[in-house]
Amino acid sequence: MAPTLIERLSEWIIEHCVKPCAVAGFFVLVAFLWTLYFQHAIAYPFPFLFLGAVMGSAWFGGILSGFLAIGMSTVLIDYFLVPPLYSMAVAQKSQTFVAAFIVCAIAIALVSSAQRRSEKAIRDARDQLENRVHERTAELRRSNQELEESGRRLRMWADAIPQPMWSAQAHGSLDYCNQHLIDSIPCPMEGALDDALACVLHPVDERLFREAWRAALAAEKKFEVEARVLGADGEYRWFLIRSIPQHSADGRLMRWFGIHIDIEQQYRERQGLIEAHDELSRSARTLSMGEMAASIAHELNQPLTAVVTHAYACREWLSMQPANLEKAAATADKIVQESTRAGSVVSRVRALFRTEAPVRLPTDLNRLIVDLVHLQHDEAARRNVAINLLLADDLPAVELDPIQVQQVLLNLINNGMDAMTNTGNPSELTIRSQKHGQNEVRVTVEDSGAGLAAPARIFEPFFTTKPHGMGMGLAICRSIVESHDGRIWATPRDSGGAAFHFTLRVHA
């Protein structure tokens, strides 16, 4: 209820009239009584206690109270203490004294009240500050509680999600794993992420994962890798391991949030699709190669048939008694003519396969190998093959046709992987690059497969050891390498398996 006008007025009157009057009255009365008491001990009227009263009144009652006290004091001093006593008149010689008293009292009242005001202001400010601090502390405590609560809720959420999740500090060491992750992984999840996951990652995927993770840490970029993860049931499943970095407002990397998404099903479906596609393109390729081979065979067969029949005829003409030399000579001409025709068929076929102008681009061979291996990663993973790269750092740029050399490498890698299927050996493919003499580089593809049965013949066209092979792969490799002025050869490895080497000239 708002205070009424009368209440406010009475408050104002108490504050500004009654209180100053009471304070001033009290102090002046005390000073007067004390002065009367000491009057007999001190000869001259004693004004100092009144000055004390003015000071006290101004201090406790404000400036108004101070001036009231001055007025009262002046009246009391004039009446009781300054001669002529008991009269308001002031003797000539005492006038200076009264005036000095009044001036001193005013000064004291002013100083005292000013002092009082400033002290009060300071006290008020301090109180205010204290209040503020109290308020802030309470607020902070409240928001802390809220934060804690929401953090707890978040963790409950994260633990309830049936998907492995984690977070890691900026440098990559784990600081949180959700319950699902802890439950699904048999080893302790702590320390650096890649070390923690090492025990559950498939050995083939582990290295790739580590490399990708380190690259992501360095680049502070989003990270995504598909890898097989060992589950609590002892089976590997394909997971998409994804992590995003969290940056502060000023761009500083704060931490990483990671999630493992089970993609086993999608992976299988995709793999099925890829296999179906491979099968399709393989059969399409074989078909068209077969058709082409048939038409080339027909083209060649016609003149050859003519040559053979003429040759038989020639022998007949010569074996007659007497020999028909004229016919034999004409027939021999025909043989020459038809053989030439067969030769021209061959050159036509060769022209068909020859590219227009050879492409030679200065190429970082290591880069080319790494790119290709990346492309083949899925295939290698599917066939449980680990690919090791031992690439020389000091390799010069090589002038080559990147597409053709990739084809050679692809062929050798695929051959290697084929050779390691069903051998029971651990499937490991090693690709090396190194300098070879002054002017050449050498690439080696080693497998741990069954080895070579006929190392001398493998580069011949149509020679194959595969059930559905055309026998063209290595023949094509050889023709590409030789068109680069290089050499390709194969050697058995002491530890079993085969090594294919090819050299390329640095300057074409």
């Binding site: 048939a294 065979a297 027909h298 067969n301 016609q302 003149p303 050859l304 048939t305 003519a306 040559v307 053979v308 029949t309 003429h310 038989y312 005829a313 020639c314 007949e316 003409w317 007659m320 028909n324 016919k327 027939t331 025909k334 003519q337 038809e338 025709r341």
Partner: protein
């Protein structure tokens, strides 16, 4: 071993070569000429059919002619009433195709390039088939011309005689006297140049089977 014309006195047997590749035709002609065989060459199936006038011999046919497969040509020949043994030549004989043409009556299937002996053996075989077919055909032709000389009554008597009926039964069936039947029978044996009744029965059988064919 060179196949010689199988039947003396008739036209000389010829190898007809149908291949769209002139070089092959030329080579084959040269070889056949060198072993003393006569050969004629045609660049297409149409050319061969247009010029055909029922000469003895055999056909060497490329299995892949432009616009027509060998099997189709084989069918066309039999539709046109041309009977000639066919030797197929192919660069790549796939088994279903070989089976098909052999079933349709091809004599031999040669894969290019083929050996001389192989080819000559095939030609010899084809000539023999053609020769025996032609002599059979000739016999049938003369039988037919003799048959044409018979009067309608004699033909009736011949049918009944060869069916195994006695003179008496024939006379009864045709409403003739037994003597008249005997007379018809003598004339018909003379006209058909049959030495005995058994001979006549054989001739009748031949004519019947050729008609069924």
């Amino acid at each position: 071993m060179s196949p010689q014309p199988a039947t003396a006195g008739s036209a000389r047997q010829t190898v007809f070569i149908v291949d769209d590749d002139p070089a092959i035709c030329e080579g084959l002609c040269n070889l056949l000429e060198s072993v003393g065989l006569s050969a004629e060459r045609f660049g297409s199936a149409e050319e061969f059919i247009a010029q055909w006038h029922d000469q003895p011999g055999c056909l060497m046919l490329d299995a892949r002619l432009p616009g027509m497969t060998g099997v189709e040509f084989q069918e066309k020949l039999s539709q046109s009433g041309i009977r000639i043994p066919i030797i197929f030549m192919t660069a790549h004989g796939d088994v279903p195709m070989v089976r098909k043409v052999m079933k349709a009556g091809a004599v031999e299937f040669l894969t290019k390039p083929f050996e001389k002996e192989e080819m000559l053996a095939a030609i010899h075989h084809a000539f023999q088939i053609d020769g025996s077919y032609r002599s059979g055909q000739r016999q049938l032709d003369s039988l037919q011309s003799r048959l044409n000389m018979l009067t309608p009554r004699e033909r009736e008597v011949m049918e009944l005689v060869t069916a195994g009926l006695l003179n008496k039964q024939i006379a009864a069936q045709l409403n003739l006297s037994e003597i008249t039947v005997k007379l018809h029978r003598r004339h018909l044996l003379e006209k058909m140049q049959a030495e005995s009744l058994a001979d006549l029965v054989k001739m009748a059988e031949k004519i019947r089977t050729s008609r069924i064919e």
